[in-house]
Point group: C2
Chain length 526, copies 2
Amino acid sequence: MQITGHMIIGQQLVRGAAGTQLAFNPATRQDLQPAFGQAEPADVERACALAEQAFDAYRATTPAVRAAFLEAVAGNIDALGATLTERAMAETGLPQARLEGERGRTVNQLRLFAKVVRDGHWQGATLDSALPQRTPPRPDLRLRKIPVGPVAVFGASNFPLAFSVAGGDTASALAAGCPVVVKAHAAHPGTSELVARAVQKAVADCGIPEGVFSMVHGNGRVIGQALVANPFIKAVGFTGSRQGGTALMRTAAARHEPIPVYAEMSSINPVFMLPSVLAANAEALGAAFVESLTMGVGQFCTNPGLVIGVAGPGFDRFAAAAAAALQAKGAGTMLTAGIHDAYESGIGRLTGADGVQVLAKGRPEGAGCAAQAALFRVDAATFAASHALQEEVFGPASLLIACRDEAEMLRLAAGLEGQLTATVHCTADDHALAARLLPTLERKAGRVLFNGFPTGVEVCHAMVHGGPFPATSDNRTTSVGALAIERFLRPVSYQNVPPALLPPALQDDNPLGLARLVDGELRTAV
Amino acid sequence: MQITGHMIIGQQLVRGAAGTQLAFNPATRQDLQPAFGQAEPADVERACALAEQAFDAYRATTPAVRAAFLEAVAGNIDALGATLTERAMAETGLPQARLEGERGRTVNQLRLFAKVVRDGHWQGATLDSALPQRTPPRPDLRLRKIPVGPVAVFGASNFPLAFSVAGGDTASALAAGCPVVVKAHAAHPGTSELVARAVQKAVADCGIPEGVFSMVHGNGRVIGQALVANPFIKAVGFTGSRQGGTALMRTAAARHEPIPVYAEMSSINPVFMLPSVLAANAEALGAAFVESLTMGVGQFCTNPGLVIGVAGPGFDRFAAAAAAALQAKGAGTMLTAGIHDAYESGIGRLTGADGVQVLAKGRPEGAGCAAQAALFRVDAATFAASHALQEEVFGPASLLIACRDEAEMLRLAAGLEGQLTATVHCTADDHALAARLLPTLERKAGRVLFNGFPTGVEVCHAMVHGGPFPATSDNRTTSVGALAIERFLRPVSYQNVPPALLPPALQDDNPLGLARLVDGELRTAV
């Protein structure tokens, strides 16, 4: 399949007329062909109007049809094979194995949502029987969840497949019954076009209304804002910077009809090393931590940016082992020149900061947008007093924080901002301290994990990739895993609706075989 | 129990020092004793700090303890007996039977949430087993929902018990495990004090941390805004005007950490009368409609403010019957002088509007804040062209809209703003038209009902009292019924947490007997 530089608006390939943009290879610092035509606001309007036109027909599709459509998207992405991964490698600097793994995750995610659609727990089917003899009589009431309407999705730079055009936001919105308009990330426009055409082909092959999927290229400040401001759009999915996410939040809140923004923005993912585990295992933990930190050149939302322990020999041994491991790490190519520049500037800020000690740096820079890993150390009081030290440095850098004692560690935990993850390393001897820490970490993070590292986000039913602000814009939800579908649903109650007019999920004979809450009791499918 | 004019801050009775305010009897237009001391911002800060202090201990209580606490609150409110209803009558002008009914609803609501807490579906317990043999290995992942933190609740003027100090917002927040700080409505401060002391006594009797409940009196623009801006507050429940709700939304969005606002604001609750049902039953429907319209002097959020039909003999007969019934209705006392003034001004606006015909007015005003019912008629084209005609007139006024044909009726439905309810009256002969209308009404309203009137909101599992903006600030939820608890919860994922540290909801042996989703399969309690 040839990349053409077109946008996908329903079944049309459209050439954006607001100038052109080339993709960029961060490993070679060279531009890539072809040129991508950029959207004008009218392109966004057309995509959104098509999405609105498609909405009622799409949400009325049966679970079987919608699930088959998601599976067709997955199959078409698989069928792109090396064409897709090679272009993604050129656009992102990510290695082949990582991109093949990410492609697998992307199609598995689509297939998980096909299963979620068929299972139907998302419908929230709830029935309360009429009580005609009661004073006053109780009507027949039935509740289900319906999709909110067309959804705007912003592709992420750091997951060109799994969190981009047909990634988690798109998959969960389509599963919910919402048409999607994607703004492709400028860091991987060719990858985006390939995936968008795979989706478009599935739309045609499955007889889905064409407006269910569109993708535009364009400037975030103009085209991204126009998309969020469009009155047909009813929710937004975004993964990116805090600055970008909060700008979209402001636009969404200022609309005539405010809409929810699900923005996954920034996290420094604290790792707590408790005293007994350090006494037992400091060296191995130091080395394992550096593996997590430098994997994918540290470009994961869940990268461990803070390690917190009580000062003492165990923490010193951990620090020495981590420093030794990090010094041996080669420089890796970052996703974009902008991310690389921001990393360099973050490292510069930490290197010069009062009270911050440089423990180690990785092997020096190579060609292209290569990043040198870095490890710093600071005491807890200095950290707590500095807002700058608490900001995310996106990339393979981390800060070790030495606390005077357990009480200072607990206070430090209580003072943290919202996070995607919080990690505890401990042995059974540390459980009393861990039990004191856990209630704080639950309040700070969407996922609390023990004796592991936060990189690696499983796509399953029990995953939460979310957390309090500023990790995300909305802590009631997750952007990874089955529960992500709930972001794009709202409940509707049906009172005394004639049986002939009831939706299948709420009909007496339960034709979809759903688990339903009936008069307060959960009934699994007959 | 003597009303003292104090506020309730934890276990303290506190005299607000920012001036005093008297309650007002809208039936006699006379002030009521005693004077209520008004809060200073420091009182709000103290209440919020106490709530934060209480949060971790309160959310750690077992479902049994929390349910017993809710039941103790209900029992204490019941025990207030006539002291409560008499004061509420004096402060609101509502009749005794209505307030006794509302007290019953309030305590039943608390008891429903006690059952909801015990059932535990709200915990959303989800377990995905470890797959150590997989490449890469899958960790053990478990998810539950936890409360978001202290919640600010604003009492509503029109439900001095069921949507005020211990009403639906407070009951669902306490059930979720969130401490509550109430700003009492100035229209019923004595009623508020009585109920707050009933809650406070239950806190003490049940050994709940005192900060779990506080209530302040004060100006909404100062004290209400200070409450929403307080960093310890993590969510807001509000029922009131669009102006008040959107002001709180702006404050919440402008915080360093934005928080969700659940504001139930305004709705005109369209009622669609389809042709066959009018042919069969126009007179009886006209009379029944007027009963719903004038009940409680029209002061319900779900009051039927619009009736829409196709012009013709059936619609004319309906209009004539409604006009005749309305002319016989006496004037009723409204809740406050402010509401009465707003109603008078709304009626004045409709009476003078181009193309609007006055069909009937009720019997003229009596003493006090008495409101004369009113019925208007307009054609659909005039209605669609006028923004002013689409605004809520809170009180016993309604507008009949005559459409040229079914197509115009469908277009009118599609052009409506978000509503709490949408109603269809039909016979089987109308089902084809109803089926075309229903997908639009689902998108416009939180509850769609057939062959009834929207007043009367059942407190049950399948109720949605919510809907798209401007009916509410957040259409993903309901403020009435069991599902209201979800407003105050957020999911947390636990990865490889040692069994000794797992919360009960997620322990292998399921000590709470919850229904749980295990590896994607729903398992009801063993």
